[in-house]
C-alpha cells in the first residue's frame, strides 16, 4: 500500500512537473507582439517602385518581397489557392472575361493617413498592366476592360508587380501595407577600407493603422549586399533572423543544422540564343547543343540536388504538364548534328560566346559546365565576363555573344501570363488570342512545345528559393506567389524552439494556385 501511495505520489509529482515544464512551450505557441526582425538579403540594391521592375527578373522578385511589406494588392491568394479580398472586397466579370469590376474596400488609408481612392488604383495599375487592358474608375471601385479575354486577371493581380501605391509629390511612394518605410541608408564606404562598401540598410516599422491590423513585429531591419557565407554565419550566431541562401550553399547550411525553408521551383535557368553571333541562329547547332546538355548532372552533382532538371519553360507546379517534356541527353546524336554543320561554326577559332549574367559563382559554374558539355559534342563555347545586372532575366542580348545564360523568375501565378511574358522576352510571335483560356492546358502545352521547338531558349534547371530562418522566428508563411508573409511572423525571444534543425516543409502547389 505504501508502495502504491509512493508510486501514486511520484506519478502525481511527475505529472505536475511535466505540466509546469510544458507551460513555457505552450506559451510560445501564442503570438507575441513586438521585436525587430533582422532580415539579410544578398542583393545590394532594392527598388520599391513596381514601375521599375522588369518582368522575369530575379531582382524583381526580391523587390516584391520587400514591397509586400508596405503595399497591398487588390486580391490575394490563400494557402489553398483561393482568391481572398484585399483592397478589393468583391469582383465580377462578364462571360467573356473581358470586363472586370472591382469594388474597393472602404476606409483604407495610406501610411500618411490619406484615404485610398479608386483613382489611386487606376494610377498605380495602369502603367504595369499588359497592353490591351484599360483600367478606369467606377462609382464604388474600378473596372478593367480588355480587348481580349483575360480569364487569369485575378492570378495576375494577386502576384507580380500589381501593388497599389500612391506617388507623392516628392517622388516617394505610399502604401497601405502592414509596415512603413522608416529608414533607408545606401551603401557607404567602410572607414577602415574606403574601397569596400558597407551594406545598405532599410528599416520598416509597423503600420499601426493598417486596415488588416497591426503586424506582430515592431520593425524589420533589412541588410542588403552581405555575402552569403557571412549571412549564414550571422544566422548561426544569432545576428540575423532570416536570410536568403543560394542553392549551392543549401547543403552546407543544412549540414550546419540551420533551419532552411525551400520554395517550389521559382527560377528557371536557361540558355538563350542570340542572333548577334553568326552560327548561333542555325537550328542544327541549337539542337546539337540541346542534346549535349547534361541537365541531370548539373542538378544532382553541381547543385547537389538542390535544383531540378528543367524539361520545359514552365514548372510543373505552374503548368501541370511539364512531365510531358523530357530532357533527353544524346551525345552521339549531338555529334552527328554537329558534323553536319560547317567546321568553322562554333569552332575553336571562333567559339560560341556565352555570356553569364549572375551574382556569385553558381551561374559561372553552370556556364562552364555548359561549355564542357558542348565540347563533348565538338561545339566550342567560350565564357565571356559575367556581369551583375540589376535584373537578371531581362538583360538585353549582348551584340557580341551568341549565347546567354539567364535566370528567369516566375512572378505570375498564371501559366498563360508567364508563357506570354517568356514569349515576349524571346521576341517570339505568340498572340494572346492563341491562349484564350487558362482552362485549356492543351493549348498552353502546344504553344510551349512550339516555343521549345524553336530552341531559342534551352531550359536547364529549376531553382527553388531557399531561406534560412532563425529558431526564434515563428509563424513563417509564404504566399503561393512566393511572397513572405512577414506581417504574420512573430518573434519568440524566450525559450528556444523545440528543434532548431526543423525544416519547414516545402510549399506544395496549392490547389488554388493552379488556375
Amino acid at each position: 500500500m505504501r508502495f502504491t501511495k509512493s508510486l501514486l505520489l511520484a506519478a502525481i509529482s511527475a505529472s505536475v512537473f511535466a505540466l509546469l515544464a510544458s507551460l513555457p512551450m505552450l506559451a510560445t505557441k501564442h503570438p507575441k507582439y513586438g521585436g525587430t526582425l533582422r532580415l539579410e538579403l544578398q542583393i545590394a540594391k532594392v527598388s520599391l517602385d513596381p514601375r521599375e521592375w522588369k518582368t522575369g527578373s530575379v531582382a524583381a522578385a526580391e523587390n516584391a518581397r520587400l514591397a509586400a511589406l508596405i503595399y497591398d494588392r487588390l486580391v490575394t491568394l490563400d494557402d489553398y489557392g483561393r482568391f481572398q479580398p484585399a483592397l478589393a472586397t468583391e469582383w465580377f466579370h462578364d462571360a467573356s472575361s473581358k470586363n472586370w469590376q472591382f469594388k474597393l474596400r472602404p476606409n483604407v488609408k495610406f501610411s500618411d493617413g490619406s484615404a485610398l481612392s479608386a483613382k489611386d488604383i487606376v494610377t498605380a495599375l495602369q502603367p504595369v498592366l499588359p497592353p490591351g487592358l484599360q483600367i478606369s474608375t467606377t462609382e464604388n471601385g474600378i473596372t478593367i476592360r480588355g480587348t481580349h479575354p483575360v480569364p487569369d486577371l485575378l492570378e495576375q493581380l494577386a502576384s507580380g508587380r500589381y501593388f497599389i501605391f500612391r506617388v507623392q509629390s516628392d517622388g516617394n511612394l505610399l502604401g497601405t501595407g502592414p509596415f512603413l518605410l522608416a529608414e533607408s541608408s545606401p551603401p557607404t564606404p567602410a572607414e577602415a577600407n574606403p574601397s569596400v562598401l558597407k551594406p545598405a540598410h532599410i528599416k520598416f516599422r509597423a503600420n499601426e493603422e493598417a486596415w488588416a491590423g497591426r503586424p506582430f513585429l515592431d520593425s524589420i531591419e533589412v541588410t542588403l549586399g552581405d555575402p552569403a557565407l557571412r549571412q549564414i554565419l550571422n544566422l548561426q550566431v544569432g545576428r540575423a533572423d532570416i536570410i536568403d541562401i543560394p542553392p549551392d550553399l543549401v547543403r552546407k547550411a543544412r549540414q550546419d543544422n540551420l533551419r532552411v525553408w525551400s520554395s517550389p521551383p521559382a527560377t528557371l535557368l536557361a540558355l538563350r540564343f542570340d542572333d548577334a553571333q553568326s552560327g548561333a541562329s542555325d537550328p542544327r547547332l541549337r539542337e546539337a547543343l540541346d542534346l549535349a546538355l547534361d541537365r541531370d548532372t548539373m542538378a544532382n552533382v553541381l547543385l547537389q540536388r538542390q535544383a531540378l532538371p528543367a524539361p520545359a519553360l514552365l514548372p510543373h507546379w505552374l503548368s501541370g504538364y511539364a512531365f510531358l517534356f523530357g530532357t533527353p541527353m544524346n551525345l552521339d546524336r549531338a555529334k552527328q548534328i554537329r558534323a553536319t554543320l560547317p567546321a568553322n561554326v562554333a569552332a575553336g577559332s571562333d567559339p560560341l560566346r556565352l555570356r553569364v549574367d549572375a551574382v556569385g559563382d553558381l551561374m559561372k559554374l553552370l556556364g562552364e559546365r555548359v561549355a564542357v558539355n558542348a565540347r563533348q559534342a565538338n561545339i566550342a563555347i567560350q565564357l565571356v565576363g559575367h556581369t551583375v545586372p540589376s535584373s537578371m532575366g531581362a538583360v538585353p542580348p549582348s551584340p557580341s555573344t551568341g549565347l546567354h545564360l539567364i535566370a528567369w523568375h516566375y512572378d505570375s501565378l498564371s501559366p498563360r501570363t508567364e508563357l506570354l511574358n517568356l514569349a515576349h522576352y524571346l521576341h517570339s510571335e505568340v498572340s494572346a488570342d492563341a491562349l484564350p483560356d487558362t482552362g485549356d492546358p492543351e493549348k498552353l502545352y502546344s504553344e510551349e512545345r512550339r516555343l521549345l521547338g524553336e530552341r531559342q531558349l534551352l531550359p536547364l534547371l529549376l531553382l527553388p528559393d531557399y531561406v534560412g530562418i532563425a529558431p526564434s522566428v515563428r509563424n513563417w508563411t509564404v504566399s503561393p506567389s512566393g511572397e513572405w508573409r512577414l506581417a504574420d511572423v512573430w518573434l519568440d525571444s524566450g525559450e528556444p524552439a523545440a528543434s532548431n534543425t526543423e525544416t519547414i516543409p516545402s510549399r506544395n502547389p496549392a490547389p488554388g494556385v493552379h488556375p
Partner: protein
C-alpha cells in the same frame, strides 16, 4: 711642318693612343668580367630553378600525401567504396582540400576514373580522367609537369598523384601547383635578370602563353624563333641561348637562356626563359667611355700644354740656332746664341758661337785683305789710268825740249802740236779723276713713283744711234715689257743711270753685233728687269767679281759701271744678279721692291729723257 709642330703632334698622338688603349683595355676586360659573371648568374639561376622545381615538386607530393591521409579523404574513400554513393556530397571537398593544403589544383577521381570533385574545374565533375587510372601504382612517384585544362584556358602545373584504396576501390587524389606568374614571382631572380615562362600547350607559338611575373610579356613575337627552335629540337634537354635587342638602343639587348620543361612522357610542356639584361654592361661601358673621354680630354689638354711647353723648350735653341744661321747668312757674322745647358743642343750652340766667332775673325781679316787689295787695285788702276796720259805728256814735253833746237817755225808747229796734246791728255786726266770723284759721291736716292718700262725705253733710246752706227756691226733690240707693270718707288735719275750702264755694258759686250733683249715682269712685291746680250759671255769667276769696283774685263774701262749699278740697286733695296754661259751672252736680273718702306715718296716726276739725262744725270760709266 715645323719641328715644333711635329713634336707637338707626336706628343698628342701618343697621349691619345695611350688613353684609347687604356679605355679599350678597361672596357674589354670589364666586358669579359661581365660576361663571365652573367654566365655564372645564369648557370646559378638555372640550377636554382631546377632545384626550385624539385623542391616545389616535393612540396606538392607532400601536400597530396597529406590530403590522401586526411580524415575527410579517408571518409570519402570509404563512402565511395559503398554501392550507390551520392558523389555530389563531395563536390566541394576538393576546394576545401586545396585551401587547407595550399594547393592550386586538387581533384578527386573515383576508381572508375570519374571526376568526383575538382577545385580548379568544378564544371568537369562527372567526366572521366582516364590518364590517372591508366597507372595503378602512383605511390612513390615524383611530381611532374602536366597540361591542365581550366575554365579560362589551359595551364601548366606541377602535379602529383596519390591513391587511397578501400577494398578493391581506389580513390585517386591529384594535387598540384600552377606554374604561372605567381610561380615566377616566387623565384629569387638576381637584379638585372628576369624569368619568363612559355606554356607550350598549343602546337604553334602563342604570344599570350608567354608570361613573366607581372603577366603577359610585351613584344612576345620576338621569342617566336627561339620557342619554335625549342619545339623542333628532338632532344629537349638542351638549353638554347638567344639575344634579343628590343629597340635601337644596344642597352636594350637581353640574352635569354631557354630551358625546356618536359612533361611526364617527355613532351615539351613549357619553356623557362631566363633573361639577362645587357643594360648594366652597356651602361658601364658607356660610363667607362665617358670617363675615358673625360680623362682623354684632360690628358689631351695637359698633353697639349706639355707638348707646347716641351716642344718650345726643345725647339727654342734650335730656332735660335736657325735665326743665328740666318743672321750669319745675312752678314751679321758676329751673331752669338745664348743657350744654356750641356746637352747636344747646348754643344751645338757652343759650336755655332765658335763658328761665328771664327767667321767674324776671318771676315775681319778678309776685309782688311780686300781693303788692301782694293787699294792696290785702285793704285794699279790709278797708275794705269794716269800713266796712259802721262806717257804722251812726257813724250810731248821731251819733244818740246828737243824742239827748242829747231827753228821757230818748226818749234811753233811742234809747240802747237805739243800743247794740244798736253791739253788733251790733261783733259783726259781730268775726266779720269772726275769719274772716280763721281763714284765716290753717289747721291742718296730721292724716291718717286717711276714707270720702269718708260725709264728702260729712255735708257735704250740713248744708245740707239750706236746700235746702227755706220761701219759697225748692227745690234738689234728686243723689248718684252709687261705693260701692266705698276709704278714703283724709285729714284728716276739713279735708275736711269743704272739702266744706261747696263745697256752700255751690253753694248761693249757685243763688238761684233748681236741682240739686246730687255724684259720686265711683275712679281708679288717686286718687279723684275732683265737685260740680256748675246756677247761672248762671262766665266763664273768673272761673274763673281763683276760688281767689284774697279774690276773690268775690258781693256778700256774704270770697272765702276756695274759697281755703280749694284750701288743704285742696293740703295733701292733691290737685288742684282748675273747669269751667263761663256759664248752665249749674259743676262742681268734686277729685282726691285714696288714700295719702299719708311721712305718719303715724291709725286711722280717726268721720266728722264735722253737729252735731260745727258744734261743732268751722270754719264754712264764703264
Amino acid at each position: 711642318m715645323s719641328f715644333r709642330n711635329k713634336i707637338f703632334l707626336i706628343f698628342v698622338i701618343t697621349v691619345l693612343a695611350s688613353v684609347s688603349l687604356v679605355a679599350y683595355g678597361v672596357t674589354h676586360y670589364t666586358q669579359l668580367a661581365f660576361e663571365q659573371q652573367d654566365a655564372q648568374r645564369t648557370e646559378t639561376l638555372v640550377a636554382q630553378f631546377r632545384k626550385e622545381i624539385g623542391q616545389r615538386g616535393d612540396m606538392v607530393v607532400q601536400q597530396v600525401e597529406n590530403i590522401t591521409n586526411s580524415e575527410p579523404t579517408i571518409h570519402m574513400a570509404i563512402d565511395l567504396a559503398r554501392p550507390n554513393t551520392d558523389t555530389s556530397i563531395f563536390l566541394h571537398d576538393a576546394n576545401g582540400a586545396a585551401q587547407t593544403y595550399n594547393l592550386d589544383l586538387v581533384e578527386f577521381v573515383n576508381s572508375d576514373g570519374v571526376l568526383i570533385s575538382s577545385a580548379q574545374y568544378q564544371a568537369r565533375v562527372g567526366y572521366k580522367n582516364d590518364w590517372v587510372t591508366a597507372s595503378k601504382n602512383w605511390d612513390g612517384t615524383r611530381a611532374f609537369l602536366k597540361r591542365e585544362e581550366l575554365p579560362d584556358g589551359v595551364a601548366l602545373s606541377l602535379t602529383a598523384v596519390r591513391t587511397y584504396s578501400v577494398g578493391d576501390k581506389t580513390l585517386y587524389i591529384i594535387g598540384g601547383r600552377r606554374l604561372d606568374e605567381n610561380f615566377l614571382a616566387s623565384l629569387v631572380v638576381p637584379n638585372g635578370m628576369r624569368a619568363l615562362l612559355y606554356r607550350n600547350l598549343e602546337s604553334s607559338f602563342v604570344p599570350s602563353s608567354l608570361t613573366d611575373a607581372s603577366g603577359p610579356v610585351a613584344q612576345a613575337d620576338q621569342f617566336q624563333p627561339l620557342i619554335e627552335q625549342m619545339q623542333k629540337q628532338s632532344q629537349q634537354q638542351n638549353v638554347l641561348v638567344k639575344t634579343i635587342q628590343w629597340n635601337n638602343d644596344p642597352a636594350s639587348a637581353e640574352t635569354f637562356h631557354a630551358i625546356p620543361l618536359p612533361g611526364r612522357n617527355g613532351e615539351l610542356l613549357g619553356v623557362l626563359l631566363l633573361g639577362s639584361s645587357g643594360k648594366e654592361l652597356v651602361l658601364l661601358k658607356r660610363q667607362i667611355f665617358k670617363i675615358a673621354a673625360l680623362v682623354a680630354l684632360v690628358a689631351i689638354a695637359i698633353g697639349l700644354l706639355l707638348a707646347w711647353w716641351i716642344s718650345k723648350r726643345i725647339t727654342r735653341p734650335v730656332e735660335e740656332l736657325a735665326n743665328g744661321a740666318r743672321d750669319v747668312a745675312s752678314g751679321r757674322w758676329e751673331t752669338h746664341i745664348d743657350v744654356q745647358g750641356n746637352d747636344e743642343i747646348g754643344q751645338l750652340a757652343g759650336a755655332f758661337n765658335h763658328m761665328t766667332n771664327t767667321l767674324a775673325a776671318q771676315k775681319e781679316k778678309l776685309v782688311q785683305t780686300e781693303r788692301v787689295a782694293a787699294w792696290r787695285e785702285l793704285a794699279r788702276r790709278l797708275a794705269h789710268e794716269l800713266r796712259n796720259p802721262l806717257f804722251p805728256m812726257q813724250i810731248t814735253l821731251e819733244n818740246l825740249q828737243r824742239a827748242r833746237q829747231l827753228g821757230p817755225a818748226q818749234f811753233q808747229e811742234v809747240f802747237a802740236e805739243g800743247t794740244a796734246t798736253l791739253k788733251a791728255e790733261l783733259a783726259n786726266l781730268n775726266s779720269i779723276v772726275g769719274r772716280f770723284s763721281d763714284f765716290s759721291k753717289m747721291p742718296a736716292p730721292q724716291f718717286a713713283r717711276v714707270n720702269v718700262n718708260e725709264t728702260l725705253r729712255n735708257a735704250v733710246r740713248l744708245f740707239e744711234p750706236q746700235f746702227t752706227a755706220v761701219g759697225k756691226p748692227a745690234i738689234t733690240t728686243e723689248f718684252f715689257l709687261t705693260e701692266s707693270l705698276p709704278e714703283i718707288d724709285a729714284d728716276p735719275d739713279l735708275l736711269y743711270r743704272a739702266f744706261q750702264n747696263l745697256v752700255l755694258n751690253a753694248l761693249d759686250a757685243m763688238p761684233a753685233g748681236g741682240s739686246l733683249t730687255l724684259r720686265t715682269t711683275d712679281g708679288v712685291d717686286t718687279v723684275r728687269i732683265e737685260v740680256s746680250d748675246t756677247g761672248k759671255g762671262l766665266t763664273p769667276e768673272e761673274c763673281s767679281r763683276l760688281f767689284t769696283p774697279y774690276y773690268t774685263t775690258k781693256h778700256q774701262g774704270t770697272g765702276l759701271g756695274l759697281a755703280i749699278v749694284q750701288s743704285v740697286i742696293s740703295d733701292h733695296h733691290g737685288t742684282i744678279s748675273v747669269s751667263s754661259e761663256e759664248g752665249r751672252g749674259a743676262t742681268f736680273r734686277i729685282d726691285l721692291p714696288k714700295r719702299q718702306q719708311n721712305a718719303a715718296v715724291k709725286p711722280k716726276p717726268a721720266a728722264p729723257t735722253t737729252i735731260e739725262s745727258e744734261r743732268t744725270a751722270p754719264a754712264a760709266t764703264d
